[in-house]
Amino acid sequence: MIIRSESRTIRPFEGLSAAENIFSRTLLVIDGKEYEPGSLLLPGNQVRTSNLTIKTSTNLKEVQQACSDAGVPHKSARYVVFARSRMLRKSTIIYDHPVDRKDFLESIEIDRLAEEKLVFGDQSGFEISAALILWDALDKQPLKVSNPGTWLGRARFRIRPESDFSSFSPLHLDKPTRERLGLREGTYSHILIQDDILLLEDLSDGVQVYLDEDVLNLLLQDESDGMAKAIQTQLAVNTITSIAQCIAQELKASSKALEDVSEEIGASRFIRKLAADSKIAPDDLLEMAETSPNLLVSLVESRFNLSNAIERLLKEN
């Protein structure tokens, strides 16, 4: 007998559309420029020193209405802004405002010097979230939020440095590395993907891209050279398609759909971003990766024919 198990992340609540609508409008203002939720690549010095403000794009009346729609008493909910270091296991709550209190800030300035240094001093980046959260336990009722900590709506901003070495920057492929990886002499490139890729929050932790050391040294001498760009582009296309194929295979092997994988997992974000950029459905992209890899290569080549566009995509995920 074949037993097929499935698990899905579900939000089994009703009345959340007003809250979701509020947080779809939330913006992060960085040195005066507004950004929508998602991954943001910034110059390194801006990651370390920029002025940050959460622009809620809402008001207390609207937030209270969102709580009422969800069946949550105003006194039991809070508008919260919190942040996490990317590299260290440290988080901090920057702002938590009871929804029944009047002095709601529509713009929340983040004082980086006063806030947790292990979060905002992380030169590899950090994540800021704004959320409307149920603060107290409520009586359990069908389709109603009841557990404290449950978010009604949320916006997340992942800030990373542009020179993010933890992305898919190629590593040197030299003789000892070839031997260690079991590759033959003369191997020009290699993409190593860990088999626990569906568990990794940061996809780059599980993907290593190797390039022949002489070629890589030449590339590093002048990355703007035409040949260097072509090599980078080809390597990026190979990397993207290999990762997509690996994710498709792992999903199939574990009898999971993409919806089963939390958005906190890098593989989920990667597939969704690639699908959105390619203007196809994520499930169609996965099917293509599994059944027609050559078509996937063509798709990636046609969609990302500029190396900087590919590099941006890689770094964001």
Binding site: R84, L88, G121, D122, S124, G149, T177, D202, D205
Partner: protein, 240 residues
């Protein structure tokens, strides 16, 4: 400010040479990043003392994996105390952790994770170090303990042994951003209420709960309640 760093490539090359018993091998030289005073110089004597203490202790504990785990826990709190005063820009630079690994923790890593351990144990498997890197995971273990107690003199939580618990269910997952949930897990584990046989399933359930619940805002009672519920559900599903 300046501080020493070791690049991924030079460290990988050294490890390869070490494993091939190359007579030419030299520890990778630390390359200074930045200018001015090096804050690491202030704590180098304490780092050396920590490693000396470890060398003295290993003679007593032999090759027992449980004892090794205990010692890693104790050294985690000491390492955190030594390094926590360093600038965050150093502590969040992977090349700095590779320096710490190569200069002070190379032999310790081989002892702890085994001679044939993965490059990740040295922080040398990818550009960014992850929680398999021995000194980096030890520092974060101390950091989590400090976040729980907020008392630098009380880092007992870091001493709770449990290699798999720490690596797979605390350090590597987002759950550990929540001090209260980390504390609840460690309390239950220490008291034997989170048996090793169910910890994996409970951690999986917590991951699912995390999709809807922001653990960072919970107090200890709330975290403990969620954890207890998940443990009960898991035990019931296993008919225990």
């Amino acid at each position: 400010m300046q501080y020493p760093t070791v690049s991924l490539h030079s460290y990988q090359r050294f490890i390869n040479e070490y494993r091939q018993n190359s007579p030419l091998r030299d520890k990778p030289e630390g390359v200074l990043r930045g200018q001015g005073e090096d804050p690491l110089n202030r704590v180098r004597p304490e780092l050396l003392r920590l490693i000396d203490d470890w060398k003295k202790t290993i003679k007593k504990i032999g090759d027992s994996s449980a004892k090794k785990e205990e010692l890693e826990g104790e050294l985690s709190s000491q390492l955190f105390r030594v390094l926590e005063s360093l600038p965050v820009s150093m502590l969040t630079d992977s090349d700095f952790w590779r320096y710490i690994s190569s200069e002070y923790f190379f032999e310790f890593t081989l002892w702890r994770d085994g001679e044939a351990c993965a490059l990740a144990s040295f922080g040398a498997s990818s550009s960014s170090v992850n929680f398999d890197c021995v000194p980096f995971r030890m520092f974060n273990r101390g950091l989590i303990a400090f976040t729980i107690t907020e008392d630098i003199n009380d880092l007992e939580y870091a001493h709770i042994p449990g290699t798999d618990l720490w690596r797979s269910h605390i350090l590597r997952v987002l759950t550990s951003y929540s001090a209260s949930m980390s504390q609840a897990i460690l309390d239950e584990y220490k008291e034997g209420k989170l048996p090793t046989a169910v910890v994996r399933d409970v951690a999986k359930s917590l991951r699912k709960s995390r999709a809807n619940i922001v653990f960072e805002v919970l107090d200890l009672d709330q975290s403990a309640e969620i954890l207890t519920r998940e443990i009960s559900k898991t035990l019931a599903s296993l008919n225990r």
